[in-house]
């Protein structure tokens, strides 16, 4: 799993490439913890390169979403592949997350 972090104003954008599974979930959780720990409640996850997500990955996303929302922030998801979107649909997670077609739309939603 490759993670690429960048900033746009007060928004942190984290790009994910590869498989988010039982092996990589801890690494992603650690990374998200460190970002959220700095007090940045505005996060966009660019999932364009995400090829697979397991139940461990879904659980990490959900627990981090709860953490960030406690700080009045949010995690927005962008650029999901159809397969990833399908997994989110089946899991009932599309009702929990704000999901956008692209990174710009996700970024704008924080200011809009």
């Amino acid at each position: 799993m490759e993670l690429a972090e960048k900033k746009s104003g007060d928004i942190i954008i984290l790009g994910m490439t590869g498989r988010l599974d039982a092996y990589s979930a801890a690494e992603v959780e650690k990374k998200l913890d460190s970002i959220i720990g700095t007090g940045c409640p505005k996060l966009v996850l660019n999932l364009e390169g995400l090829e697979y997500i397991s139940s461990s990955g879904l659980r990490v996303f959900l627990s981090q979403l709860k953490k960030v929302r406690k700080q009045q922030g949010d995690i927005k998801l962008a650029c999901m592949k159809p397969y990833i979107r399908e997994v989110f649909d089946i899991a009932g997670f599309t009702q929990l997350f704000n999901i956008f077609e692209n990174e710009d739309a996700a970024n704008s939603s924080f200011t809009g």
């Binding site: 139940s55 879904l58 659980r59 959900l62 627990s63 089946i90 009932g92």
Partner: protein, 437 residues
């Protein structure tokens, strides 16, 4: 009039749902009552604690989870703090099982009480019961199954008393002295309704009904088709009931006089079941009715117990059968769709009964006639629920066949005769290519 000592115990244990679940610790293992016995107030109180962040890493064991659990402990927003297990997959858990947020536990239903007792360290059990009687007993009502076992091997038992839960007989009672906390919450029980019969239902029902003699003891599986078959048995005499699931069609058989239970060897005159799933009217019929006896599933579904009644006829449904006679009743498109449940328990028990029959009934096609349920080979990833050695009768709208004692050639030909005529030529070709003919 409730005996004063039991009334005092009841009052001492009576509390609010929030208070009753306040002692549940993170990391606990919880088992809840099945289907209509899901206790909504307790489930809501636990979900409130999970949502408030007071409780996490809760292991939840369900069998056929229904709405009350789906809306609370199995809600997607709690997937990070609940480890969910389904011992039989339902509409409420199917999606989560498919993406690994809920784990199916393979089992034969009659072994579930033992499996839970020996393999789970159960911290909390919660279930709905009927109101306490004058001798201090609640009734497990619609859900005896594994609940009665779990109630006695958990560390803390909390019951939700619902006046709509029927009081039934048999080995179905729980004493106030066995209970740690009581909450009262009267609400309508979950109801199970099936769509009306289709044209295929009528044909299958007629064929299967012809296999059921007067005096037979019946087990009917869960779902629409077994209920339709029951409706075709209204003209029979002295039928009996020894079943896993008691359903509305059985009430009709009793009311119309087709079921008397007079010729049963075991529990004559009694309707024996372990789970009841039906309508409000059915629950009323069951309440305080001495003919309604429920027992743990380790008893009702024990193949040796099932075989104790002569002329035992079990009727269940399947999803697919291949040309070898292997039956899949639980997986669809490579995913766990339902579960083994008690199918094999009754297939084996009924065949071992003197004069008994096990019948697996199914529609010959699916997806509006586009897909044959009779297939050359089971789908990739499909599960064999009933092995070919155990299959006795198979029935579709095109006929009924008995596979016992038949060669692979005879079986293949019999099974192909059950397929929709549009698929038979290709199935015959496949059978030849498999050197079955």
């Amino acid at each position: 009039m409730i005996m004063p000592t039991y009334r005092a115990q009841y009052r001492r244990k009576l509390t609010s749902p929030d208070q009753a679940v306040s002692g549940i610790k993170s990391g606990s293992t919880l088992v809840h009552g099945l289907a209509a016995a899901e206790p909504p107030a307790l489930l809501q109180a636990i979900a409130d604690r999970l949502r408030a962040g007071e409780l996490t890493n809760l292991s939840v064991h369900s069998l056929l989870p229904m709405d009350n659990v789906a809306k609370t402990l199995l809600s997607p927003d709690l997937a990070d703090c609940v480890r969910a297990f389904s011992w039989f997959v339902s509409k409420s858990s199917r999606s989560a099982v498919r993406v690994g947020l809920n784990y199916y536990v393979p089992n034969h239903f009659h072994q579930v009480p033992r499996l839970m007792r020996e393999n789970l360290d159960i911290d909390v059990a919660i279930t709905t019961v009927s109101p306490m009687d004058r001798a201090g007993f609640f009734s497990f009502g619609t859900a005896n199954d594994y609940t009665s076992t779990v109630a006695r091997c958990c560390k803390r038992l909390i019951v939700e008393v619902n006046k709509n839960m029927p009081r039934v007989f048999g080995d179905a009672h729980l004493h106030i002295s066995e209970v740690d906390a009581v909450v009262e919450h009267t609400t309508p029980l979950i109801e199970f309704k099936w769509p009306g019969p289709s044209a295929e239902d009528g044909a299958i029902g007629k064929l299967v009904a012809e296999l059921v003699p007067d005096g037979a003891t019946l087990q009917l599986g869960f779902g629409g088709l077994p209920n339709v078959i029951a409706m075709k048995l209204m003209g029979r005499k002295d039928l009996g009931i020894h079943t896993e699931v008691f359903g509305p069609a059985m009430v009709e058989l009793i009311r119309k006089g087709a079921v008397t239970g007079r010729r049963k060897n075991l529990h004559p005159m009694k309707n024996v079941f372990t789970v009841a799933e039906g309508t409000r009217e059915m629950y009323r019929f069951m309440n305080n009715n001495p003919s309604m006896e429920s027992y743990p599933v380790s008893y009702t579904n024990n193949p040796d117990v099932i075989a104790s009644n002569d002329n035992m006829v079990s009727i269940n449904s399947i999803i697919q059968v291949d040309l070898l006679g292997q039956c899949n009743a639980e997986s669809l498109d490579g995913h766990e769709y339902s579960g083994t449940g008690g199918q094999l328990d009754y297939v084996r028990g009924a065949y071992n009964s003197r004069g008994g029959k096990s019948i697996l009934a199914f529609y010959s096609t699916a997806r509006k006639g586009q897909v044959s349920r009779v297939v050359s080979r089971l789908d990739s990833g499909a599960v064999i629920t009933t092995p070919r050695m155990d299959v006795h009768y198979l029935a579709t709208e095109h006929g009924a066949v008995n596979l016992k004692g038949k060669s692979t050639r005879e079986r293949a030909l019999d099974i192909i005769s059950l397929a929709d005529p549009r698929f038979r030529d290709s199935l015959l070709r496949d059978a030849e290519n498999m050197y079955l003919l």
